[in-house]
Every structure is written in C-alpha cells, then in structure tokens.
C-alpha cells in the first residue's frame, strides 16, 4: 500500500499520456548515488537462445569490467536480465516488471523483433530509454517527428539490409556475376535480405533472378539448390543463419556447383567455416565487427576472450560481442552525459555526435538528432583456409 497513492497518480498520468501523445515526458529512475540499474530481456531458453545466452554473457562481462574500472562517475552498473523465451507476452510482462519493480534507468540490448516491439510502447510511455536492441527492425530507431517519445529509441545493430546490400555489391563487383540469386529464411529477418537483394540489383542494373526460401530450422535444401542451379545462377546470396547457410553450401558442393556465395551478418561468424569446412571456402561475408580467433587475437580482444572464458567457461563468439558492445556503448555515453545522469542528459550525450570505437575493429558508433541508428559501416571478409580473413573495413553500400 505504501505507494498506492503514488501509483494511482502514475496511472492517471499514464492514461494521460495515452490520451494526449503530444506532450513528451521523459522520466529518470534507477539512478542513485552509487548505482545505475539497467534492464534487458533475451531468449535464454527458446528457439534463439544460441543468440540470447552469449549476448547476456557479454553484457554481464561488460558490466563487471565497467564496475572494476570504477564505474560511471562513481556509480556502479547493475544489470537485471530476464529470460523471455522469445515470447512477446512474457517480454511485455518482464519489461513492465523491469520498469516498475526494478526501476531500471533504461532497457538495454533487449533481443528479437516481436519481443522488443511488443513492449516498446510501454517503455516509451514510461518515458524511459530503449537502447541498442539486438534486432534490425526499423521500428527500433525510426523516428516520427510528431512523436517526441520516439527520441527515446536508439539502435546500433547493423541492419541486415545494409550488410546484405554491401555483401551483394562486393560479390557482384568481384565475380562479375550476371545472374545473382537469393535463398532466404522465410521470416522477418529474411524479408530484410530480399529487400536488400532487390534494391541492390536495381541499383547496379542487374536483373533479379531466382528467389527461393526455406523455413527456420529446415534441414533439407536439395530442392532449393537444385532450382538455383537449374536456373543457372552464378552468385547466391544466403539470407540465412549459420546452420542453414552451411546446409546450402554443402548441398551445392555435393552437386558440383560452385557459384559465388555471399553472406551477411548472421552467417558472418567463425562457426560458419568451422562447421562447414571445405564447402565454405571462398565465401564472401559482411558483418558489423571483425571476426576474431582466440589463437591469433591480440590486445584488448585477447583480454576479452580470456576474461569471457574465465567467467563462463566457454569461448566467446560474435553474439557475445553484441551484448558486450551494448553495455560498453551505454557506459561510454553515460560517462559523457556527466555526473548528473538523467534520461535527458543521456539523450543529449547520445545525440552529441561523439563516436564510440569498439575493441573488435567494428565501425565507429555515433548518433545524431535525426539519426538514431548508430552504425553505418561494416567489415567485409572472405573465407581463406577455413577462416574468415578481413578484406576491407569501414565499408558501406552507399556510394
């Protein structure tokens, strides 16, 4: 009962917000003299837990490191993380719990499209920041000028669309392909890839050819590959995630068919050549950060790999860097925002145009008043001798 009057007041206010969206009300909570609380929710048990688990680990590691180096203006970071099981219903409840019970300052690096989009209005109407979700959905950074609360959304996840366009562009330029095709996963992610494919071919004046799809979790790609082969494709864009990508290139090899394969960020991971072996040789890929290997890494990346292994007993992967970077970018800009950290001051810091450089050789992250998507460039790599080798950094498909 202690706060029932208060909460009734808050409720009335909430109803007010819902009724009159014009007035922007940013709210600051979760900051004490000693602590900043941030919240996240990811899939740790459902269909995309192979992303959620390492990403959460990465976040935990980053929080530890930030705190070990003295915190942010003397305040320690505290991360509250929940397992939403890739269920938007749970995500809504958990977000609400993070906001109301844990009183988090911001939601940082929540994962998945449906699972971030469903609770997003809640976060916005509470006047809190929704930062760097691990999804490329446009809703997470696109701003409607009529809605001031849209300024609360920031994203720095390199859109699949961008990486795929760059990958296709580079692939076609290199291989002089005449008939590029695409095979894509039939879901929201795949949609990004097909858009990129269509737009890039249009931009390069190359006619579009075969487009085939498969369902998430498919194990058989014979008919898709056979179809593209029969259509005479000479370049294949893989709008798929690691396992399916390997399936596709393996079938192609079995059928003695060797077009140029280009992939984008979901497949631009060390697992791809590791598991796919010879079949993946020569594949071109584009991703947000450089691929690192434990035995060849140096400097901060090496420290990161070792710290990660020490903390969780497993090897770090690309997914872990996404979570790690989320917290690091937050810490970076919170530092810039100064001692008086509020939602407004952090927005100001984020929009200041200052850049953040990660330790993995990724493109610099910076936001502005009109652009809340913090990343615009990517890394191009190619598989040589079973490993990703960086071909070029800081690239973009835009001319």
């Amino acid at each position: 009962m202690r706060s029932s009057y208060l909460s009734i007041g808050a409720m009335v206010a909430l109803c007010g917000v819902a009724a009159t969206p014009a007035s922007a009300q940013f709210k600051t909570q979760g900051i004490t003299d000693t602590e900043i609380v941030i919240g996240t929710h990811m899939d740790l048990s459902g269909p995309i837990k192979s992303w959620g688990v390492p990403a959460t680990n990465g976040m935990k590691l980053a929080v530890e490191q930030v705190n070990a180096s003295g915190g942010i203006h003397g305040r320690k970071l505290r991360l509250v993380s929940e397992d939403d099981g890739y269920d938007p219903k749970k995500a809504v409840l958990q977000t609400q719990k993070l906001i109301e019970l844990d009183k988090v300052f911001a939601i940082v690096s929540a994962m998945g499209s449906a699972t971030t989009l469903a609770p997003l209005p809640l976060v916005q109407s509470a006047g809190l920041l929704h930062l760097f979700p691990i999804t490329a959905a446009e809703f997470t950074f696109k701003m409607d000028p009529a809605k001031p609360e849209d300024r609360l959304k920031f994203n720095m996840f390199s859109p699949y669309y961008d990486t795929m366009r760059l990958s296709i562009k580079y692939g076609i330029t290199q291989s002089k392909a005449k008939k590029p095709c695409i095979v894509y996963q039939d879901d929201e992610m795949g949609k990004n890839f097909t858009d990129a494919y269509t737009d890039q071919l249009k931009a390069m004046n190359v006619p579009a050819a075969t487009m085939v799809s498969f369902k998430r979790g498919a194990t058989d790609f014979n008919s898709q590959v056979a179809r593209m082969k029969a259509d005479g494709c000479d370049l294949v864009a893989l709008g798929s995630v690691t396992r399916e990508s390997i399936g596709i290139v393996t079938v192609a090899k079995k059928l003695d068919w060797a077009p140029t394969f280009v992939v984008s960020s979901p497949t631009f991971v060390p697992d791809f050549p590791d598991l796919g072996k010879e079949a993946t040789e020569g594949v071109i890929g584009v991703g947000q950060t450089e691929i690192f290997y434990a035995d060849t890494a140096t400097g901060k990346v090496k420290d990161f790999i070792e710290a990660y292994r020490k903390a969780f007993g497993i090897e770090a992967n690309q997914q872990a860097t996404a979570g790690y970077n989320g917290v690091m970018v937050f810490a970076h800009f919170a530092e810039i925002a100064g001692k008086n950290l509020t939602t407004e001051s952090l927005i100001a810091a984020l929009e200041s145009g200052k850049t953040f450089d990660d330790i993995f050789g990724g493109a610099p992250v910076s936001f502005s008043k009109d652009n809340h998507l913090g990343v615009s460039a990517a890394v191009i790599g190619q598989i040589k001798n079973g490993r990703w080798a960086t071909v070029a950094k800081n690239q973009t498909y835009k001319e």
Binding site: S45, K49, S50, P54, S223, I314
Partner: protein, 290 residues
C-alpha cells in the same frame, strides 16, 4: 527428367530422416498409446551424447555409437520410471502433456550442460558421395536410408512375431486385461521407452552430419509428426511410407511449385490423405462393437 529423378532421390533421403524420427513416435504409441512429444528432445540428447563420446572423448565412431545406444537405453528407462510410471493409467492426454514437460526439461538441461553452440562430429560417412551416372547421393543420406530400412524390418518383426512384442500391443489395447494375463505392464513400459530412446539415439547420430548438433534439433520431431500420422500412427511400415511420401512431396514441390508451397505441401497432402483415409495409409480402422 534427370532433375526429377534427382529430386525424387533427394526426397527419399529426406523422407527417411522423417521416417527414422517417426519410428520413435510410432514405437511408443504402438505399445502405450501415448504420443511422446519429447521424442525430438530425446533424439537431441542422443546426438549430444554422441558428440561427447566422439568429439570430446575421441572414441572410435562405432564404439561411441554403441556406447551412446546403451546409455540412451538406460536414460530412456529412467525417464519412463520418473515421468511416465507415476502416471501410468491416467488419461493419455495427461501423459502427453507430461512428455511435453519432459521435453522442456531435456532441452533446458542440454542447453545448460552443452551450451548453445552448434557442434559437429566427424563420421565415416561425412562428405562422401555415391554417384550413379549423373545422379548424386551423399553417403550420410545413404546411411540414413539403410538404417531406417533396417530398423523398420527389425521392429516390424518384433511386434508381429515375438511374445513380448505382442504383449506390448496387448498392454496398449487394454492395460487391465494385460495385468490379468500376468504381463508385467510396468516392465513393458520401461522396455518400450528404452527401445524408443535407442531409435531416437540412432536418428540423432545419423542426422548429426547433416543438421549438426544443436539445441533446436528437437524441433525436427515436429516435422516427423505428419510422417507418422500419414502412415497411420502405430504402424511401423507406415512411418517409413509416410516419411518418404512427405519427403518426396516436399522435394518436388520445392523444385516445381512457386515459393511457399514447399513448406505447406506436406500438410496439404496430409490433410488430403486424412480426409480420404481418416486412419492414415497403414492404420487400421476397427468398428466399435456395441
């Protein structure tokens, strides 16, 4: 024409994958009339165990295979003892739900124990292909076709001719009467769960080179479901026939039909067959005596 034949062969290989998983469903259903929703997860567990034996411990493939089969047989019996035995005799619906719970538990445990990365094992079949003229068939697919065929024959004979096999069917048809005949019903249940875990384990190991070993491997069980139903749940040759039918349908529709048809073709065929034969291709349709 060559494309067509190649697609059909690919479809058969794919269909045997479904058939092999479906066999596990059918076994338990035939002997206990329970649909085991944890079948896919048990298969996944088998695959992860094989990873530990082959990749982590570096054992010989065949030896590891044997070891894996034995451990899964024990685990199958343990699962039966812990989850199914206490609710023996409850309505099937409840038992089915309990197997869903079991599936969740296995999936989470596997995630906690083996992590979430994709894993790979080297097998004697990895990468090899068999060529007949210009037709190609991967050796790992061939191994699945052979194993599925073999298991089908063995299991069919087991249920058709052996005393224990018939007793299992008797138990599923009337548990009370089975008790009255002195059939050790509980041991039958343990045995069938062991058997089915063995089949699942074989499926997991044979599939590993094609699909890798990962935490979502269990979802493949859902894809094998229509195969089992199409054949007539409870019929062992039916599982194989249903699997191959669906494999070929998927393969051909993926090649010849417009986008999107491949994924639903199997279900459309399934619905069509069920409307024509409500008990599936090989199922028996007994009239109720009143």
């Amino acid at each position: 024409m060559l494309d067509f034949v190649q697609q059909v062969i690919g479809g058969i290989a794919l269909g045997c994958v479904y058939g092999l998983i479906a066999l596990g469903f059918v076994l338990i259903y035939k002997a206990t009339e329970v649909v085991n929703f944890a079948q896919g997860e048990i298969m996944m567990l088998g695959a992860f165990l094989s990873f530990t034996f082959i990749a982590t411990l570096g054992l010989n493939y065949w030896f590891a295979f044997l070891l894996c089969v034995i451990s899964m047989a024990i685990l199958g019996a343990v699962m039966e003892r812990l989850v199914v035995r206490p609710i023996l005799g409850y309505p099937q619906f409840s038992i089915v739900m309990a197997t869903i719970g079991l599936g969740l538990v296995i999936r989470s445990l596997v995630g906690i124990i083996w992590g979430t990365d994709d894993l790979r094992i080297e097998t004697p079949f990895t990468g090899g292909v068999v060529r007949v003229g210009s037709l190609v068939l991967a050796q790992d697919s061939l191994s699945i076709i052979v194993a599925t065929g073999l298991l089908c024959v063995i299991l069919y004979a087991f249920f058709r001719f052996t005393r224990v096999g018939i007793a299992m069917q008797a138990t599923s048809q009337n548990m009370l009467a089975a008790y009255y005949m002195g059939i050790p019903v509980k041991r039958m249940f343990s045995l069938i769960w062991s058997l089915s875990a063995i089949v699942a384990c074989c499926a997991g190991i044979l599939l590993a080179p094609i699909t890798f070993i990962h935490a979502n491997l269990g979802f493949l069980g859902i894809k094998a479901f229509p195969a089992a139903v199409l054949g007539g749940f409870g019929s062992i040759p039916g599982a194989l026939a249903g699997g191959i039918t669906i494999g070929i349908v998927e393969s051909l529709s993926g090649f010849y039909l417009p986008e999107g048809f491949k994924d639903v073709a199997a279900y459309v065929v399934l619905l069509a067959v069920l409307l024509w034969r409500p008990q599936g291709l090989f199922g028996s349709n007994a009239l109720k005596k009143v």
